[in-house]
């Protein structure tokens, strides 16, 4: 007999699932428990090169209160039904809104979207999971609070809770988002509600201003994790600076990246440049201005000669270094001198500011990201190959020039083996450097999809063999990445999981933890 569900959770009978769904309906209204194929369609689409069936949810629950979530976890414990949490659900290139495993019930917190507090003086916010950056941006503008957001490139449609819980990054001086998180409320698998840090103390008003509280610091264990459901989230906002100076520095040769990183590192560590510096390859920038089909046709990765032509035609460097200065005009003037002297030394850098680059669409969107303005221009990346396939490959290294060329060569070599292009950038955080490569492929082409899967698998294998760990990965490869961090970490993660969620109802499989 055909099931009335499009998928079932692993090991749960239809009868038990029926009972669970009936109980969910008692807690939520009928229209907040979704089970039909049509209702679940937006939870199924991913950019990953695996069959949608592997990540098809059995249901989605649209909760709006903490109390409802407590009741939902009680039902999940009773029927051993696993849930997968999303806040704004735009984890694009990492699994989108689909669960890690087929049959998990998506707990969609998008409707829980109250901005609970934004304090102008202390520059912090406390929000619920469904708040988008756009919503918070509008609120700050409407109330003239003079605060800036830091957000990832999908800005308007994503949100601070989901992004930070997955340890995402942005482009202002507050861009390492989890560094600026301060206090969470978490519904645990046993239904208890934990407020981390100072939030545990009755009558305290320091929840959003002092991160550590007393005793072991707990917030970290709720990021990239499945130990609890975050229902409130505090974080710090940047006061709007009196002046802002974005700039781009272009270089013409791939080998120049060594000099670029050596120049940036001291400026970042000393704080002269206060935001993470993006060093974008021409192929990462090209889609904003150029069409791949104008330069190359047929299978295989794009040849260097075509990349050269793109650079010339569209005024791109092979490396395009984006950063900004923030502060009073006097501070900026002093730091600008230091920056231009440092980059000017070798004579290879072409330094452009708003004066020269105001009409350049790549510069315009990067500048917006660096001051927390909404833009989705980076989605141009997907016009390069077409077909909507994407996985972020994100290994971490030391911020040293010597770490760049060998990583780039290895990445290019593996991508080329599978006929894919190198759409990459290096981001100098402070002492660390993320190498971010968008593995773009045509998901409507089964051959390319298969190649993309194998390519990503090989990238992970080869990079981890050389000691490069991945900071975050899509749901199809979480086990593989967890494995690269060794058995002891996996065992500790598992021990915590058992203690906090003995029935394994919260997002089993997240970060390879079950």
């Amino acid at each position: 007999m055909a099931s009335k569900y499009i998928a079932l959770p692993k090991g749960v009978s239809e009868k038990d699932f029926d009972a669970a769904i009936n109980n969910f309906r008692k807690v939520l209204s009928d229209d907040a428990v979704l089970t039909s194929a049509e209702q679940l369609a937006p939870y199924i689409k991913t950019m990953m090169p695996v069959a949608d069936a592997e990540h098809t949810p059995s249901a989605a629950l649209l909760a709006t209160t903490v109390e409802q979530i407590q009741q939902i976890v009680a039902i999940c414990n009773q029927y051993k039904v696993p849930i997968w949490m999303i806040s704004t659900g735009k984890n694009l290139g990492y699994g989108s809104a689909a669960p890690a495993e087929r049959g998990q019930v998506v707990l969609d917190l998008k409707r829980m979207n109250r901005i609970l507090e934004v304090d102008k003086d202390l520059a912090f916010a406390l929000v619920e999971p469904g708040v988008t950056y756009q919503q918070l941006y509008d609120y700050i503008k409407e109330h003239k609070l003079g605060l800036w957001l830091s957000m990832p490139a999908p800005s308007a449609i994503a949100g601070p809770v989901g992004n930070t819980l997955d340890r995402g990054v942005g482009y202002t001086p507050y861009g390492e988002h989890f560094l600026f998180a301060c206090g969470m409320e978490v519904v645990l698998a046993n239904g208890e509600v934990l407020r981390t840090g100072m939030g545990s103390m009755p009558n305290s008003n320091t929840w959003q201003v002092f991160k550590w509280g007393y005793g072991p610091y707990l917030d970290g264990i709720f990021t990239q994790s499945n130990y609890g459901i975050v229902t409130k989230f505090g974080f710090w906002l940047m006061p709007e600076p009196p002046a802002f100076k974005p700039f781009v520095i272009q270089y013409q040769h791939e080998e120049d990246i060594v000099e670029i990183v050596e120049t940036i590192r001291p400026l970042r560590i000393s704080g002269v440049i206060p935001n993470a510096v993006v060093i974008a390859h021409a192929l990462y920038e090209a889609p904003v201005k150029a069409k791949r089909s104008d330069y190359v046709s047929g299978p295989g990765s794009i040849p260097d000669e075509a990349v050269d032509r793109i650079m010339k035609d569209h005024k791109l460097g092979i490396w395009n270094v984006y950063a900004a200065l923030y502060g009073t005009q006097e501070q900026i003037d002093v730091n600008w001198n230091i920056v231009t002297q440092a980059f000017g030394k070798s004579g290879k850098a072409k330094i452009l500011t708003e004066q020269e680059a105001a009409d350049d669409p790549a510069f315009v969107y990067r500048a917006k990201l660096m001051r927390g303005e909404m833009t989705l221009t980076e989605f141009s990346l997907y016009n390069w190959r077409g077909g909507g396939g994407s996985m972020w490959f994100a290994p971490v290294s030391q911020a040293r020039g010597s770490e760049t060329l060998k990583q780039m060569a290895l990445t290019k070599q593996i991508l080329a083996k599978y006929g894919l292009d190198y759409s990459g950038e290096f981001i100098v955080g402070m002492r660390d450097m993320h190498h971010i490569v968008d593995v773009l492929y045509d998901k409507t082409d089964p051959e390319q999809t298969k190649a993309a899967y194998q390519c990503f698998d090989e990238l992970l294998t080869e990079f981890s063999a050389r000691g490069y760990g991945t900071y975050r990965v899509n749901t199809a490869f979480m086990d593989k990445v967890a494995e690269t961090y060794g058995p002891v970490q996996r065992k500790v993660h598992k021990t915590l999981k058992k203690a906090l969620d003995p029935n394994g109802i919260i997002a089993p499989g997240k970060s390879g933890i079950r």
Partner: protein, 111 residues
């Protein structure tokens, strides 16, 4: 509520429930009721704050004033299309989606 508590007791045993419900109530009482939640005003707002960032920015094809069928728009919004993400009813509910589809399809007649 009674039924819920019974449910919770089955799963967790009696003591912890009393404690956590009690604590939740204390916090609920502290919560600021004036907190700002979100509702879309109209189709134009949704268009401006989501669609326009790509469709009016040369990232995705223009879609306004093309008399695209409402069902087609609804379908693309819910299912996504290639790189365009799908949007869930929790983000844009069915009523708002209809307003959005009308705005996209017949925008010029509204001005």
């Amino acid at each position: 509520m009674k039924e819920i508590i019974r449910n919770l007791i089955v799963v967790f045993g009696f003591m912890p429930i009393i404690i956590f419900l009690a604590t939740t109530w204390v916090w609920a009482a502290q919560e600021d009721n004036s907190a700002s939640s979100h509702r879309w005003k109209d189709g134009a707002e949704i268009y401006t704050k989501i669609c326009a960032y790509c469709h009016d920015a040369q990232v995705a094809p223009p879609i306004r004033n093309r008399k695209l069928p409402l069902d087609y728009i609804r379908n693309i919004v819910r299912n996504g299309n290639r790189a365009m993400p799908a949007f869930r009813p929790s983000e844009i509910n069915d009523e708002s989606l209809t307003k959005l589809a009308e705005f996209i399809s017949h925008q010029s007649s509204q001005h």
